[in-house]
Subunit: 316 residues, 2 copies
């Protein structure tokens, strides 16, 4: 972050026509945004939502309430504008891009072998890296991948310890039997790959869309583009970066806390306080897309409001 | 609400390309909105923010951290686009109107006499009533009035009981001595007017901008325009309607819970769960304006998403 821009934004914020601190968290968000953009009075003109899709070998184990072909069907739905994230991106004035990644080639079943080889994981990271528009000034990364809450639970379990039951949840809506299977699959994956380094965990237990999200978040850091994190899967992807390089998510804030059981625990583990808590559990970037207008609002207030002196308003 | 439109929206919601319930609270908001608009597939095309301003006799008692002339200065700031609510209304795509009400004639000091006569209160209610654009499809009412957290605290105390200390807070930022004065003023007002009927309490302890907000909310009900309630003062104004006619706020949802100490208690008393909790305590309609994009997002999802059949996506 740019400390000069931060100091400039703080000075400006303290002179705006409002009682000190009365915009609450909007004030810190505005200042945080300014510090990453290197401007004391920034604007958000080109927000971007990038959605990645991948298929998972573990779906053969019965970990999802939906069949694996839904991944490719939902990609078509994204392309035709019919999914929730299409509406939420438009609502936020964001450009949306869709990145299906080798959907006809699911990852390996991670209970048997690494989900991805190193080369496959790097290729997926690069899809995310390349997806970030250099002109963007606010980024959301979203995902679609039947089976990927199991992948995210295994990543979180491997990174943060505990048992599979601590990290597994109902995803799109599995029943009790499905939940039991998810726990067994997660535990088996962690038994096989749990001791590895964070980015190896990403390759071994993640998926192509999960790796792409990590690549997008890392690329945004290089470009000083602030990121709004989405739900459980996005935060599990992001957590591999934070675990590899503490502070790697300083350019990110948490858009929401989802209804997926272990999302609050992942947020605590990466030190993020969510903006929204509205019971979403859809993925696609939906919770982060919903939060985009809040971040825009924070920046509009910081940069658009008049100061006491400009407006001729008496202070205390 | 229109039960046919509600049933139509519920049916549509259940067929959209997402797992059941996965949009959480957005789903209920969309259905609620549809039921008030009488359309199963509504759109929000013309949101409105109406800001009312009034002056308060009790400011002479030293209840505010800011001098009374700030009210008229902030009205000028609203008119020039420099206040927080200007940025937040623009961020939400809302038209904003500003309604200063007899600023050179403050209400009476309510510790001595009713703040407004019945005729004065009716005139202020009518300002709010007339301010609502019949073409609006989502309304926020905001306020500016140095001293009005004291007025709102007295209203809440009179409507809901307890002691002055339960309802008084720091407003724009009074110190401990100022807080003590607010308590005394509130207690004196409630001692004099507390036993009256809800709309008499509005006249006796309210202010012109407070009455105007109540008028706007009531008018929106007649026009079936859903309303997002703002903070402590807006909710105190709204509470007089709810207390007079239970259910009078069924067309309203709570945009946020503010940092003003007694706002959570007023929200509980009127049975509203806030959408946001971001520590705002500014008034002007700011918290409700911040929440407008969330309500728009809910309606966009309900009305814009494809169904499973339309998109050719497999169900469970």
């Amino acid at each position: 972050p740019d400390l000069e821009a931060k100091a400039g934004a703080e000075a400006r914020n303290s002179q705006l026509t409002k009682p000190d601190g009365s915009l609450g968290r909007l004030e810190e968000i505005g200042i945080w945004y300014a510090s990453w953009r290197g401007e004391a009075r920034p604007r958000i003109a080109q927000p971007q939502v990038a959605v990645f899709a991948g298929n998972h070998g573990v779906t053969a184990r019965g970990v999802s309430a939906f069949p694996a072909e839904v991944t490719v069907q939902m990609v078509a739905n994204f392309e035709h504008g019919g999914a929730a994230i299409n509406q939420l991106a438009r609502n936020a004035g964001a450009i949306m891009s869709i990145h299906p990644i080798e959907l006809d080639r699911p990852t390996a079943d991670f209970t048997i072998a690494p989900a991805m080889s190193e080369a496959e994981c790097v290729a997926a990271l690069k899809v995310g890296w390349d997806a970030v528009d250099q002109q963007s000034d606010l980024l959301v990364v979203g995902e679609m991948g039947i089976g990927n809450t199991t992948s995210a639970a295994a990543i979180a379990n491997a990174l943060f310890g505990g048992t599979a039951a601590d990290w597994v949840g109902r995803g799109t809506g599995v029943d009790d039997a499905g939940l039991k299977i998810k726990e067994e699959v997660c535990a088996a994956g962690v038994a096989l790959h749990g001791g590895k380094a964070p980015l190896e965990i990403l390759a071994s237990l993640g998926g192509r869309e999960v790796a792409a999200m990590a690549g997008g978040i890392a690329r945004a850091r290089m470009l000083r583009i602030p990121v709004i994190l989405d739900g459980f899967i996005c935060c599990a992807a992001a957590a591999t970066l934070e675990k590899a390089v503490p502070g790697a998510l300083d350019h990110c804030l948490a858009g929401h806390v989802s209804a997926e059981a272990a999302h609050p625990a992942v947020l605590r583990a990466i030190g993020k306080e969510p903006l929204l808590s509205m019971g979403l559990r859809l993925g696609e970037g939906s919770g982060a897309g919903l939060a985009m207008p809040l971040v825009k609002a924070a920046v509009e207030c910081l940069s658009g409001m008049a100061t006491f002196a400009e407006a001729g308003v008496s202070g205390k």
